[in-house]
């Protein structure tokens, strides 16, 4: 037992020990630079590879959900007959995207047309800087980390506008406006679903929020926010808003391939097109990471006896779980119409998120209650979640009953 504990603590420290060892090779004046560069390279490498395998996992899983095989052919080109379950597919895709012709419309605003994909990837990568990937394993320790996260994410809107406007194509511009309407609408419920966590923990720092969720009740119930009534509901709101923010199905209207050509990406081709999708996956991964940090206990282990597994492994496991959930949702749910989408955000999610904020305030005020009062606390909190949900849902459905279809009769 002690051996595993030793190994566990070593594994726990391994990334930091490795980084410090590499930093030592540099002359003293350059060490701070090396320190930051190593962090950046590590994030790029880990999440670059993560992105590559997310795409192949998505394609294979979607294939299975739709009762087909998905990519299973790409092997190693120098070994004849190797297939590797199609795991090298993303690298073949990358080569394909890189070698494709890059077409810029003659009337396009060349500079902005080029800047849009660059901006969107750069800012989606910047959001990774404040995610605590493990115990003491956070790239930048900021007091206002959550604010930074959303500030870096807000540049995506600018990039969408630039892409749509600079293409000089009316479909691009109209679709960009639609995409902006969606992203701006869901920014509000996304932030409102995060605020209760800040209220209860009393900090904007992501590492402190992750730390605050440590410990167990009765030795097996983790203190994650998702296991409280307000946290569970906040997490649901966060999931829906995160799906909409990252333009994923069922909210993938901006590039609904069957209705719009490809939205604001119509005039993009080759690697620029791939960059937009890369940014979409990075954004999804970062938002999932934020969801893990805020609601699923961050890098904390679910049970005390599982703590020997290093914290970053737990973080990545939870992250993979979130991504898997998003892929599952994509394979299951139908795309919404734009009016349904905005109605869901403004009439349903925003009021519920505001009520949930009050619920979290109640939870924070009653933290001193114990004994039978605990049951009262849980009961009131659950009622504050379930009651408005049912009332508002019923109220909004009134008069909008199931759609009747009339078929042509000869």
């Amino acid at each position: 037992m002690s051996v595993t504990a030793e190994a566990g603590t070593f594994l726990e420290r391994a990334p930091l020990v490795l980084r410090d060892a590499v930093v030592q090779w540099f002359p003293a004046p350059l060490q701070w630079l090396a320190h930051h560069l190593i962090t950046i390279v590590a994030i790029l490498a880990v999440f670059g590879v993560f992105f590559a395998f997310t795409t192949v996992a998505e394609r294979k899983l979607l294939g299975r959900l739709q009762n087909r095989l998905g990519p299973n052919r790409a092997g190693l080109p120098w070994i004849k007959g190797s297939k590797l379950f199609g795991l090298t597919q993303p690298f073949a895709d990358a080569v394909k995207a890189l070698t494709k012709e890059d077409i810029v419309p003659a009337a396009a605003d060349k500079l902005l047309h080029f800047l849009a994909p660059v901006l969107v990837v750069a800012f989606s990568l910047m959001t990774f800087a404040v995610l605590p990937f493990g115990r003491n394993l956070i790239p930048v320790e900021l007091d206002a980390a959550l604010l930074y996260f959303f500030a870096a994410g807000s540049a995506t809107e600018l990039a969408i506008f630039m892409a749509g406007w600079a293409s000089r194509n009316k479909y691009s511009l109209l679709a960009a406006m639609r995409a902006l309407a969606q992203v701006i609408s869901y920014e509000l419920p996304l932030m409102l679903s995060v605020v209760p966590v800040v209220l209860v923990v009393g900090s904007l720092s992501t590492s402190e929020i992750a730390l605050a969720q440590g410990g167990w009740t009765f030795g097996f119930l983790p203190h994650w926010h998702v296991f409280t009534p307000w946290g569970f509901f906040g997490f649901l709101l966060f999931l829906v808003a995160a799906l909409a923010e990252s333009n994923r199905a069922p909210f993938d209207l901006p590039e609904a391939e069957s209705e719009l050509i490809a939205g604001h990406l119509t005039e993009y081709s080759g690697f620029k097109y791939a960059l937009f999708f890369m940014a979409e996956y990075f954004g999804l991964t970062a938002l999932s990471g934020l969801g893990v940090t805020l609601f699923l206990g961050g890098w904390q282990a679910p049970f005390a006896f599982l703590e020997f597994i290093p914290s970053y492994a737990w973080f990545m496991l939870k992250l993979i779980g979130m991504i898997g959930f998003f892929i599952w949702a994509r394979g299951t749910l139908l795309r919404l119409r734009i009016d349904q989408l905005t109605r869901l955000a403004w009439q349903f999610m925003v009021p519920l998120a505001l009520i949930n904020l009050g619920n979290a305030a109640f939870w924070a005020l009653t933290s001193g209650w114990s004994g039978p009062l605990q049951f009262v606390r849980w009961g009131v909190s659950i009622a504050l979640v379930v009651g408005p949900f049912i009332l508002l849902g019923r109220g909004l459905n009134g008069g909008r009953g199931p759609r009747t279809y009339r078929y042509a009769t000869s």
Partner: protein, 172 residues
């Protein structure tokens, strides 16, 4: 003076100057976004982390969208065409409006007591203390700003909304 401050000021003043000189409204608006990002960088340089991120979130994220939407919605026919100087009277009106705003701002800055000489070491403020300040002594200012923005938002909705009866097919 250090290099970072010079670079940041060149970014702010340069993008503002080019934005004024350009005749394409969208380009000007995007350059102003760059200018606001530069101001955020200045706040970061000055150590005001919270204000810097709030500046990016509000100006680069939200106000830029308001400006761009306003440009696109008000100049429907030729949003991408360069805009040429119109007439002398228009120039004068722009000068009066701009000068008025500049006058108010300069007056406010000059009227504010700024005792730089007695300032001690830079205070290290946490976000929590800023929140306490905003909710306590400065709560009235926060409420007034919030009310003002809500009124502006409602006004924008009233101006932009076109009342059209909902089609009966959609409602069923």
């Amino acid at each position: 003076m250090n290099l970072a401050l010079i670079l940041i000021s060149v970014l702010i003043l340069g993008s503002a100057a080019v934005a004024l000189a350009l005749r394409n409204l969208i380009h000007s608006a995007l350059l102003f976004v760059g200018c606001w990002a530069g101001i955020a960088a200045f706040y970061l340089w000055a150590g005001a982390e919270f204000v810097a991120f709030a500046q990016v979130l509000i100006y680069v994220g939200a106000v830029s969208m308001v400006v761009l939407f306003a440009v696109l919605l008000t100049r429907q026919s030729d949003a991408a065409e360069p805009m040429n100087p119109d007439s002398f009277s228009r120039f004068m009106r722009a000068l009066v409006a701009g000068g008025g705003v500049a006058g108010i701002l300069v007056g406010a800055i000059l009227g504010t007591p700024m005792d730089v000489s007695t300032a001690g070491p830079a205070p290290t403020l946490t976000v929590k203390e800023i929140g306490g300040q905003l909710m306590g002594p400065h709560a009235a200012a926060l409420l007034i700003v919030g009310l003002l923005l809500t009124v502006a938002l409602l006004g924008a909705v009233v101006i932009a909304a076109v009342d059209r009866p909902e089609k009966s097919e959609d409602a069923s």
